[in-house]
């Protein structure tokens, strides 16, 4: 049977990926350039008996997302910069209460209202550190419509598996460009659903990690009566200020991610084997970077590209290795220096680390990258 292929926008591919993953709940608030995700799901979700609700603001949307997730829903929310700033408190709530859900941030220029229709990559550090308090984050950065489709499925899988919010960081270019997307057949891509408790309701503790770092999550309305709070809590879900319990819980919630890096991290390595200059690029900027690598190769420059699809947790180990191999790592980003800070931190001065920043609402073009590479070599 012929595969189902469709021409679609990145935002639409995101909505389609969510549906494939089993998303049955969306809550959001309209904002450019993310609105198409909501529009598509407002049409598609009721068709499958799912729920779509447009909330009164972005905080309310994340609140509804968490409430729905506790009833067993696989929930998605999409937004852009100003909305993402509003969501930060409840993103932290989803971290500490360990609620699986997926939030898409289609990045635009900023701060504040900035450039609503212009692309940006300026929320990359916010994605990790935007909410207060120590926590782990999983942040995915796809770069094509096909990849947005598949990475949205992966985002749901990671959210369910690790019982936490997962963020997808798009940018306006990826979100609005149209490409061919091959839609997966049922069963073709793996779908992971959260682990449900195997113990009786009387024995259930929502944060009991004795059998693994990710405790099973029961569903409201299924006979399990449990308490959920944003306060530091003990295994039974009730607030505690006991130092050793708070410490253990805080650390477990970070360790559940950091001890599973091989499962969570994903990168593309393009012509890296002999590369002397490595472009560290992601999202739409990586498309210019790939073009630049090809052009540089034609001129005999040993260029390659390292492209994280999981940006957070940051690929420390691999970037450290690359910093030993390369003379220089060049980071093109539509911001004034965000992920380059991580590259510098990890490279520890072993190679030159250079940045190309652009925040004028225009994409970084291959010529700019080629010029920078020639300058640093």
């Amino acid at each position: 049977m012929a595969k189902k292929v469709a021409l679609m926008q990145g935002n639409e591919a995101c909505a389609q990926g969510a549906l494939y993953a089993g998303c049955d709940f969306f809550a959001g608030y309209p904002i450019t350039p993310s609105t198409e995700v909501a529009e598509v799901l407002s049409i598609e979700l009721p068709k499958i008996g799912g729920k779509f609700i447009q909330m009164e603001d972005e905080i309310g949307a994340t609140a509804a997302l968490i409430g729905a997730a506790l009833t067993g829903a696989k929930a998605l929310d999409s937004t852009s910069g100003p909305g993402m700033s509003l969501k930060q408190e409840l993103l932290g709530y989803a971290c500490i209460a360990e609620i699986p859900c997926v939030i898409v941030n289609v990045q635009r220029g900023g701060p504040s209202t900035g450039m609503p229709t212009g692309p940006g990559q300026s929320d990359m550090q916010q994605a990790m550190w935007g909410t207060h308090g120590d926590h782990a984050a999983i942040v995915l950065t796809p770069a094509s419509c096909q990849e947005i489709y598949e990475e949205t499925v992966r985002a749901f899988n990671l959210a369910e598996k690790y019982r936490m919010p997962v963020q997808i960081q798009l940018d306006e270019i990826c979100a609005h460009m149209r490409e061919r997307v091959t839609l997966a057949e049922p069963g073709e891509l793996e779908i992971i659903n959260r682990e449900k408790p195997s113990v009786s309701p009387a024995d259930y503790k929502p944060y009991d990690a004795t059998k693994g770092m990710v405790p099973p999550l029961a569903t409201y309305g299924s006979g399990y009566r449990f308490h959920v709070t944003g306060l530091n809590k003990a295994a039974d879900g009730f607030p505690t200020t006991k130092a050793e319990l708070v410490d253990a819980e805080e650390r477990r919630q970070i360790d559940k991610v950091m001890f599973n890096l091989a499962d969570i991290q994903k990168n593309e390595e393009y012509l890296l084997d002999d590369a002397e200059v490595i472009l560290f690029a992601y999202g739409s900027t990586s498309r210019s970077a790939r073009y630049a690598v090809n052009e540089l190769r034609k001129e005999g420059v040993k260029a390659g590209m390292f492209r994280p699809l999981t940006m957070w947790p940051f690929p420390d180990d691999r970037v450290a290795e690359l910093s030993k191999q390369a003379k220089a790592i060049v980071c093109p980003e539509m911001n004034l220096g965000q992920m380059v800070r991580e590259v510098q931190r990890v490279a520890q001065g072993r190679c030159t680390v250079a940045h190309i920043g652009r925040v004028d609402g225009e994409p970084i073009n291959p010529g700019q990258i080629i010029d920078k590479v020639k300058e640093v070599l």
């Binding site: 009721p46 909330m55 309305g221 944003g230």
Partner: protein, 271 residues
């Protein structure tokens, strides 16, 4: 025989955190009795709150309980109800939580007329943070951030709820304890968004500052200012000066939100 509250309380969770004389406990007992009156299945009842002294209530109840972030309870609860309309959803919280930081979610829950019962425990103050004024603090009253007298006008929560579209609005007081469960039960049985405001006291952060010598004085005030709606109908505006109406203040029938969305699903599916 004494009423058995224990069966609805989570084993081992008492004593509660509330101060002696705090009205929140009276309201919790009323809520427990109302849940009983309505025969609520606690497995299918979500009790959702924000942050504040009042919002600590769900932790004591043996149900599906969700203690959220300051002001956001109505929005979390909307997610629960929307995703699982067969659940009974109760929202509880303070005046500050519901009408200041949570005001936006509050009015939109009222507007949607989503089938939930929102119990606001109005002690006219931010109790938990030590007595700063709230949108429900009387003008002129003393609070830790209004030591020269509160310059802010005061919200009338019931009027706010009616204006925003709530289809059942009632008011009681912590003094009139026997009425609380009746109002809440009627709210639970009502289809749509029900707001039950219970005027409450905070002896610790409001009473002391505002020259109430004891909890009894605060309770006496609640007794004195409350006028049942039926009695008020026979009173002159002069007689009603400084009084607040209690009982069921508003009741109407309007399409409920999750039922409306069920229609959306039917239309989308072409049935």
């Amino acid at each position: 025989m004494a009423y058995d509250y224990e069966k609805s309380i989570r084993p081992g969770k008492l004593p509660h955190i509330w101060c002696p004389g705090c009205g929140h406990g009276i309201i919790m007992k009323g809520l427990i009795r109302a849940m009983d009156t309505c025969n609520l299945d606690r497995n299918n009842t979500a009790v959702v709150s924000g942050i504040g002294c009042a919002s600590r209530l769900p932790g004591y109840l043996d149900a599906c309980t969700l203690h959220t972030a300051h002001g956001r309870a109505a929005a979390f609860a909307t997610g629960v109800k929307m995703a699982k309309p067969e659940m009974t959803v109760l929202v509880v919280g303070g005046d500050g939580d519901g009408t200041a930081i949570g005001g936006n979610h509050f009015i939109h829950a009222c507007r949607r007329n989503i089938d939930m019962t929102y119990i606001i425990m109005n002690n006219s103050i931010y109790g938990m943070t030590g007595g700063q004024f709230s949108p429900c603090t009387p003008t002129g009253a003393l609070a830790s951030t209004t030591v020269y007298g509160n310059p802010d006008p005061t919200f009338d929560i019931a009027k706010l709820a009616i204006g925003a579209g709530a289809t059942f609005v009632a008011r009681g007081t912590a003094y009139h304890a026997a009425q609380i469960d009746k109002l809440i039960a009627e709210g639970i049985q009502h289809k749509g968004l029900a707001v039950i405001e219970i005027l409450d006291d905070c002896p610790t952060t409001y009473g002391r500052r505002n020259k109430f010598r004891s909890v009894i004085d605060m309770m006496k005030r609640l007794k004195d200012i409350a006028v049942p709606v039926a009695a008020a109908a026979k009173m002159t505006p002069e007689q009603l000066e400084g009084k607040v109406l209690t009982g069921v203040l508003h009741k109407e029938e309007r399409p409920e939100y999750t039922e409306q969305y069920a229609e959306v699903i039917k239309r989308a599916q072409g049935v």
